[in-house]
């Protein structure tokens, strides 16, 4: 492999990933499936922050869990460092388990209430023999200092309930960092935090990314966070990626009607802009993932829906360099007009 190819290679490549969860049927009904993730593909380069955005039930968290090996995919492949993750075994698998770490949404739920900070942060080191026995405590203190809990020593013997929400999330971040990962999956890392704490944690994540050369996969519903934190975005709707673009391109010229609606629904902390922008209020709600609509899955709520959308599933098209969208009419005059609401 040439050096050039190495530099350009994706750290993570997700191809046609699919996960359906069976739901028990009755004795007269066959079991049905929740289409959690349906045939999604995206890639992530080293050092990049990629966001998967969508509303609840769109499959973004399932995707994160598939990557963290908390669930097994039904179909599709995950390539990490150009190796098929499903085929990893032995030391290579162990290395993957170190390389890919996760930060969880709820800092109250993600720390074991019966273990001290010391025990929580020692665990990954013990699991992987990642530090000398004598140096484990030093490593832990060092981590605490890195995530802004200084001096780390005083937090070592605290239990999670003795910490504030922000501090707990810092512990969660420290735990993800102990094994020196290359990819960190952050599942709504700030959505349960107060606004004033949220900015602190996001700053911390940014600083750590630069220090440790991390790649981030952000799972979030908050477009405000995405614009400031991420490089590229995939927008998910009902298990599918409907638009994939660089952050600036997506926010200035959103192409998919759903992205446009999502953007216009996201609150803007500026009364003048907020009242001037065009608002798109979608009708209805997200259909059940048990029985997703035929054709374009968004057609039941789309303001531009036509017969073709009901019958034919749109495929992802690259309309601008690096900006792909799955919509029959994206780029057409009427649909375009709604875009650019927040330049």
């Amino acid at each position: 492999m040439s050096d050039l190819a190495k530099m350009n290679h994706s750290l993570l490549q997700v191809q046609r990933l699919t996960k359906h969860f069976p739901v028990e049927g009755g004795w007269l009904r066959p079991p049905r499936h929740v289409h959690a993730v349906d045939d999604i593909s995206f890639s992530l380069s080293a050092g990049e922050s990629f966001a998967l955005v969508g509303e609840s039930g769109c499959g973004k968290t399932t995707t994160a869990r598939l990557l963290a090996k908390l669930e097994k995919p039904d179909e599709g492949s995950i390539l990490f460092d150009e190796q098929e993750v499903a085929e990893l075994s032995g030391p290579a698998l162990k290395q993957y388990n170190r390389d890919v770490q996760m930060i969880f949404q709820d800092p109250f739920e993600s720390l074991n209430p019966r273990r001290t900070v010391r025990a929580i942060l020692r665990q990954p080191l013990l699991n992987h023999d990642a530090a000398d026995k004598g140096e484990i405590d030093e490593t832990v203190v060092d981590l605490l200092n890195q995530v802004g809990m200084e001096p780390g020593e005083i937090f070592m013997d605290r239990y999670p309930h003795q910490l504030s929400g922000g501090q707990r999330q810092r512990i969660g971040i420290a735990r993800a960092l102990t094994l020196k990962p290359r990819l960190v999956i952050a599942d709504e890392p700030v959505s349960s935090l107060d606004i004033s704490i949220r900015a602190q944690i996001l700053n911390l994540l940014k600083t750590l990314q630069a220090q440790h050369d991390l790649s981030y996969l952000f799972i979030t519903h908050d477009l405000g966070v995405v614009r400031s934190v991420c490089d590229r975005v995939g927008v998910m709707y009902l298990g599918e990626i409907v638009e994939l673009a660089a952050v600036e391109s997506l926010f200035t010229t959103p192409l998919h009607p759903y992205t446009q609606a999502l953007l216009s629904a996201t609150p803007v902390a500026d009364p003048v802009k907020a009242r001037e922008r065009r608002r798109i209020i979608l009708k209805g709600e997200v259909p059940s993932a048990l029985d997703p609509p035929a054709g374009c899955r968004f057609h039941t709520r789309c303001p531009y829906s036509e017969k073709r959308c009901v019958e034919e599933k749109p495929s992802l098209r690259e309309l601008r360099p690096g900006h792909t969208v799955a919509c029959h009419f994206a780029g057409d005059v009427g649909v375009e007009a709604a875009a650019g609401s927040s330049t």
């Binding site: 963290a68 908390l70 969880f104 699991n127 003795q162 929400g165 922000g166 349960s192 911390l204």
Partner: protein
Amino acid sequence: MTTSAEPVDHQSSNRGPQWRAIWGAFSQNRAVPIAGSLLLVLILLVLFAPLLAPYDPYALGSGSRLGGHSFRNIMGADNLGRDVFSRLLWGGRVSIFVGFSAAFATTVLGLLVGTISGYLGGWVDDILMRFTETFMVIPRFFLALIIVAFFGASIWNIIFAISILTWPVTARIVRSEFLTLRTRQFVDAAHVIGTKRSTIIFREILPNAIGVVVVNASLLTAQAMLLEAGLSYLGLGDPSLVTWGRMLYEAQPFLRQAWWMAVYPGLGIFLSVLTLNLLGDGLNDVLNPRSSEIHRTGL
């Protein structure tokens, strides 16, 4: 970037009104220390029965037959002239021993099976579930009667019968705790950092389930004491030993002549069971603060 180094003992998230969490976490409990010390006194009393009892509990003629309260027999004497007070102390020894052993055996067995079933799931879990479902429908007390009546009324058989009949309930409790706990985010987090299964069970999950098990064990001890007393009361107790239940059985024909034969041993059972239930309740309030939460009321 630094955070304040001061200890923060409250929750600051947008999970709901803060006073709730505070109230729950700091809820004081008086039942546990009271019940705990009562239980300790009871245990000490029966433990030192050999020193405290004035007579051999089996010796005939320690008092006059059906004799009432006197300096010689402070709680009277029974139909064979045995000292009720001495029998009470020695009987308590057996009753409390049966209670604790049965509860211990039940808890160990229930914990083992519940843990395996709850964590592994799959066919192991299916078998346990079917088994306990069937079990719930069998009249358990009658089965205990049969085991003791048919296999012999030794104290070990009684303990065996009680444990074998109560462990599925404990197993179900442990299992359902595990089922909830294993889907918690901190268990996911443990998987992601590559924690071994055994570590997840023993370090991550079990410490969180233990509260429920402890409460259950306390209530089980009470239940086992009642069961033993019941069997003995029906005349199916270990004939070679004095227990509180057996004393009540012996008292039944003499209710008219000697009320003390029934009142004191019954009081013994009642007080111990009450203490254990009180302890279980108190522990439940402490370990499971949600149920002790105060409700809101309009003025």
